[in-house]
Amino acid sequence: MAITLKVNGRTHTLDLDPATPLLYALSDDLQLNGPKFGCGLGQCGACTVIVKGQAVRSCVTTVKSVEGSDITTLEGLGTPEKPHPIQQAFVDEQAAQCGFCLNGVIMTAKAFLDKNPKATEAEIQQAMSSVLCRCFTNVRMLRAMRRYAR
């Protein structure tokens, strides 16, 4: 059926099974590289997008449930030429190894820090407690988050 998605300020009407997880519409139909399949279970964060200011796991969110909502992906924040401040903070801290987790880390961190700019270390830990980086770039990523929050 026809599903209308508003992604990064643009409206797309796609022919999709309404039960399709949003991730597949973003990565396959809209060919976005930011949101990624990590687990398909909402456990790792790789697929995270921001919907109405909230970090949402697109691998366990149906397209039907976000129809008409403003969806922001990593691409919607900034570009290599004009990065968003949180993206720049991760470059400044050289906070990556393989980089596969960056989507989940940056999108989860942005949604959290925009609401909680004065978050304590414990609150940041809590906010990032179901986001994974299996290369374990934690030191730099947490530093990048603090840099952005400042």
């Binding site: 990590g38 687990c39 374990f136 947490l142």
Partner: protein
């Protein structure tokens, strides 16, 4: 169309180039290692392209390689483009693995030597052109100058090849001359990574590409009895059901359609033989038929043990652990007729080519494998197996097919880092010196990397009917061969390695595994070093010696001693025996522990001090600080090295505290992030001090697997320091720690 490197250069603007190959003529193979043109091309406009057979997995080696070429050619970093791991374009350097990229390309041959050979060739050309002796020329920014006259690299080469062999005598720049190498140059891939522009293998999209999904066996060793294709008949988007021996999969137009069809496909399986009981698994390894090997045997170990003042014994246990790459593995293959183009995150595009040829029944020369980065690679994760999946499914439909594994299929069938049982016996004289050390280990293995011709070493090849590498029991072990401590099976303290202890024996028993196994970051080295560096602490404690001082007393290698001393100094190590005097047996106790090793016996000096808190009520550990010192020769990029040291330390911590593959009587049960316990991004991350010793003389060593090798031993030693309880089984779960605390005398 014949793909050649000149056309490629013209067609490509940058590092990442997607082009589908529908070639009619023969593919160009990998160029020879001994020819300069295989490594470096200078275009008429002066742009420089370097070709490497060592790939970027996230470890930062592409940045360092770009620095290396820029340095040797006296151009700025950004003037060099690096192309790596493409079977039609780049030299065949086998695997990117084993912390070997840095030594392979930065020492006296390969990429670094190509850079120096090219620079000297350019100087000779300039000398001829300008009529000025070479020794009166200087190069900067791609321009060679005599003072009054100048000529650019582009003008000298005029788009031609060098047609020269690599010159082993070409003079390399020394670290004191470096202006690009040795600097913390930021990684050029980050702006694309943080904005979603970067193309992982997961993002390769070919025209007309379909989506595949595999249906793996429900239990270990299960075989296909029957497949009912009518169970998916008429499903939306379904293109084909593919069955080959025990391999089953579906191809559909869209990913979600493939997922649903794979879920509905009715497959009847014959169960495999029951799995061994995990509770008694480690002990069961001792009873299996084994291939026995002496790594060293001084021949006098029994006499020394029986004549010693004191003999200490301990047994250390390590579980199977998994790579658990964050993104499940993915590949894209386009197999049409007798040709194939494959996009893979494999660590060895050349071996993927030769083994894909076997599973597809095609000629290797008709297969083009192009590396694209996957999700974190810490060894043989699912990258190779999913490449076979994509290739088989693509061949069945004659169209490009993308396959990404489910989380469960990734975790239930990857090649795990193997379990270990390690017995240690140490003999001490009356003065407390170690006079003999006996090490005996059991470790299960099955399969491995596919290598050149063993697709059955990984799950998909096995399902397709290819056998894994042979296992040949052998007992007793023959006398030791030439000394090689690549696995770190030999403790650092042996005189045959880096130490002073004259009498030693290391006997290993390789046994068969029911699960596939393969290299996982610091393979065997981590398990062995955990046992050695824990046991060294036990020996020091027995004679009430300071653990660092006791290590230094039994080491001979000056660099290993220096790296250990550097870590201890930065950590303000307090010289005293463990356990820490005055600690109470309740509440929170603090302690510190140290460990050190020369990775692989010759590939990276490393030492680690951990400072921890143990909650003696809950068994919970908090690591407050880790000081990781390393000496890996001349440092190519200090920030890249630091990143590896930090990441290794924390990955080691996760593996030490929580990671363990689990199973029931028929299947793997650690199949997601609830059942396989990785530390998340948000935990109380210790302060990490990376102490980098920049040894500007001598050879470059590997740096990717140093700190991780030491973490478990340093933490275990710190737990002992804090509490007096010794924990000898990884992972150090709260339950195990509580049990060890309860068992204190």
């Amino acid at each position: 169309m014949k793909v050649n490197r000149r056309d490629f250069l013209k067609a490509s603007g940058g590092l990442i180039v997607s082009f589908s190959l529908r070639a009619q003529g023969p593919l160009q193979g990998s160029p020879p290692l001994n020819q300069l043109d295989s490594w470096i091309a200078i275009a008429a406009d002066g742009s420089i392209t370097a070709y490497s057979g060592k790939e970027e997995l996230g470890q930062g080696i592409s940045t360092a390689q770009q620095q290396l070429v820029a340095e040797e050619l006296s151009v700025p970093f950004n003037r060099v483009k690096l192309v790596y791991c493409d079977t039609a374009l780049t030299p065949d350097q086998a695997h990117t693995s084993g912390s070997q990229s840095h030594p392979a390309n930065f020492n006296s041959d390969n990429l670094g030597q190509a850079g120096a050979t090219a620079r000297e060739a350019l100087f000779r050309m300039a000398s001829q052109k300008l009529g000025v002796p070479v020794d009166r020329l200087t190069a900067s920014n791609g321009v060679i100058s005599s003072g009054s006259q100048q000529v650019t690299y582009g003008q000298l080469v005029e788009g031609r090849k060098f047609s020269l062999a690599l010159d082993p005598k070409a003079k390399r720049k020394s670290p004191s001359q470096w202006t690009v190498l040795g600097k913390p140059i930021p990684r050029p891939d980050l702006p694309d990574l943080v904005t979603g522009r970067f193309e992982f293998v997961h993002n390769v999209r070919l025209p007309g590409m379909l989506h595949g999904r595999v249906v793996r066996p429900p239990s270990v060793g299960a075989t296909v009895a029957k497949i009912d294709e009518s169970s998916v008949a008429g499903m939306p988007g379904l293109v084909k059901v593919v069955v080959k021996k025990n391999f089953a999969g579906v191809v559909a137009e869209k990913p979600w359609q493939a997922i649903q069809a794979a879920g509905k496909l009715k497959v009847t399986w014959n169960p495999g033989p029951p799995l061994p009981d995990q509770a008694t698994f480690h002990d069961s390894l001792r009873k299996l038929p084994a291939r026995d090997t002496f790594m060293v045997d001084s021949g006098d170990i029994d006499a020394k043990l029986s004549g010693a003042a004191t003999v200490l014994k301990a047994t250390y246990l390590h579980p199977y652990q998994m790579h658990g790459s964050m993104g499940s593995s993915c590949a894209v293959a386009d197999v049409q007729g007798d040709r194939a183009t494959i996009y893979s995150a494999t660590q060895a595009v050349w071996y993927q080519k030769s083994t894909s040829a076997m599973i597809l029944g095609l000629k290797p020369e008709n297969i083009h494998v192009i590396f694209r980065r996957g999700s974190g690679c810490y060894g043989v994760n699912g990258a190779d197996t999913v490449t076979y999946d994509a290739a088989i499914l693509s061949q069945a439909v004659g169209k490009p097919v993308r396959v990404q594994l489910t989380r469960k299929d990734e975790m239930a069938f990857e090649n795990y880092g193997p379990a270990y049982v390690i017995d240690q016996r140490g003999a001490l004289d009356a003065q407390g010196n170690i006079v003999a050390w006996d090490h005996e280990s059991w470790s299960p293995g099955l399969g491995n990397r596919p290598g050149t011709n063993r697709p059955g070493n990984i799950i998909t090849g096995s399902l397709l009917g290819f056998p894994p590498a042979d296992f040949a029991p052998r007992s007793p072990a023959p006398p030791p061969g030439a000394f090689n401590n690549n696995s770190n099976g030999v403790p650092s303290y042996f005189a045959r390695g880096t130490g002073a202890v004259q009498s030693g024996r290391v006997l290993t028993h390789a046994v068969e595994s029911r699960f596939f196994t393969g290299p996982l970051r610091s393979p065997a080295r981590l398990q062995n070093t955990f046992a050695h560096e824990s046991f060294m602490d036990e020996l020091a404690a027995r004679v009430k010696a300071d653990p660092v001082e006791y290590r230094l007393r039994h080491l001979r290698d000056a660099r290993l001693k220096e790296v250990l001393s550097a870590a201890a100094k930065t950590a303000n190590w307090e010289t005293r025996p463990s356990p820490k005097p005055g600690n109470r047996r309740t509440g929170i106790a603090t302690g510190r522990g140290a460990a050190s090793v020369l990775y692989e016996g010759d590939n990276g000096y490393t030492a680690l001090v951990a400072e921890i808190e143990v909650n003696q009520e809950t068994g919970k550990i908090v690591v407050k600080r880790m000081v990781a010192a390393s000496d890996v020769g001349p440092i190519s990029n200090p920030d890249g090295l630091r990143n590896q040291v930090e990441g290794g330390a924390l990955q080691g911590l996760s593996r030490c505290l929580g990671e363990e593959v689990t199973w029931d009587n028929e299947k793997i049960t650690s199949v997601d992030w609830r059942t396989y316990h990785s530390l998340p991004l948000g935990f109380e991350v210790p302060k990490i001090d990376a102490v980098l010793i920049n040894r500007t003389e001598g050879e470059v060593m590997g740096a990717g697997e140093t700190s991780i090798t030491l973490v478990a031993a340093a933490i275990g030693n710190a737990i002992f320091d804090a509490t007096g309880a010794r924990i000898r089984q990884i992972p150090f779960t709260a339950e195990r720690i509580k049990a060890a605390l309860a068992a204190r005398a």
